[in-house]
């Protein structure tokens, strides 16, 4: 045993970050802010994956590879998300999520 690092310290940190992301997702009015909160959640997931990878030590570094994929998809998501927000803003002069209620009954 060289280093005494507890697995849970990473996982709990990730859980806290994730929950903060959920909170931001639920309360923020501005769509850009909502996207920021989503990024926070994704970062939390990445921490989880990397911590688990460090714990299991798979030969192919599966956790890290998954994290790479998540980062890539997140980049795509931000691009598309911001484009959609831009379009909504242009049409409605507002990027507030709670004003987008065209879909309700």
């Amino acid at each position: 045993m060289g280093v005494e690092v507890i697995l849970n310290q990473f996982l709990i940190l990730a859980a806290v970050l994730f929950v903060m992301g959920v909170y931001g997702l639920l309360v923020r009015r501005n769509a850009v802010m909502v996207l920021l909160a989503v990024e926070l959640m994704l970062a939390a997931v990445n921490i989880n994956l990397v911590a688990m990878e460090a714990f299991w030590q798979t030969t192919e570094a599966l956790g890290q590879i998954l994290a790479v994929f998540i980062i890539t998809v997140a980049a795509a998501e931000v691009g598309i998300g911001l484009a959609i927000i831009l379009l909504i803003f242009r049409n409605r002069r507002s990027a507030n999520v709670d004003e987008l209620d065209l879909m309700r009954w």
Binding site: Y23, V27, R28, V32, F55
Partner: protein
């Protein structure tokens, strides 16, 4: 393992500092009234995440995070903020909507559940051989070997996002503007 043992490990000092910084930044991301500040706090939170990756000996991933997120995604966000005139002042009324309490309750319940699950599952299991590190060759071989198909798919997704982003965000010119454009 008691707290003394834990704190006796120098690596954990570093962890405590990074974790504190990350959590505080993360909290500011979702509470800051100023969008630009929120984005900058996200930079801090992501930098903390990258530092954690370094701590966990995932160097390559840490630098990917720094380059892709802090270098590119945040810049994209800043553009988005500027174009959509997101609230940059201290206008509290426009910031969050009025149902903050139920949202907070749901989030706390989620946190409680997660904590219960994590603690009951993992307890104080330790991570061994954390200094081993992952050579980037392993990642490269994995990405272009076993995971080459998902890799290609993700590449395609990125391309689709690129094209889709342009198509969605492009503004069709009005007939008058079109005429003006042609006359140039």
């Amino acid at each position: 393992m008691g707290f003394e043992d834990w704190i006796a490990e120098p690596l954990n000092w570093v962890f405590a500092v990074i974790a504190l910084a990350t959590v505080v930044s993360g909290f500011r991301v979702v509470t800051s009234p100023n969008v630009v500040h929120a984005a900058l706090f996200l930079v801090a939170a992501l930098a903390g995440t990258a530092a954690l990756f370094l701590l966990l000996a995932a160097e390559f991933l840490a630098w990917v995070l720094v380059l892709v997120y802090i270098g590119a995604v945040i810049v994209l966000f800043l553009f988005g903020i500027m174009i959509t005139r997101a609230p940059t002042g201290r206008d509290e009324s426009n910031l969050d909507h009025k149902r903050r309490l139920p949202a907070a309750l749901v989030s706390l319940a989620l946190l409680a559940l997660l904590l219960w699950g994590l603690i009951s599952q993992w307890g104080d299991t330790t991570i061994d051989r954390i200094t081993a590190g992952t050579p980037t060759t392993v990642l490269g071989e994995g990405l272009l070997g076993r995971f080459v198909f998902p890799f290609e798919v993700v590449g395609f997704v990125l391309l689709a996002a690129l094209v889709g982003g342009i198509t969605i965000a492009r503004r069709d010119l009005s007939p008058a503007e079109e005429k003006e454009w042609e006359s140039k």
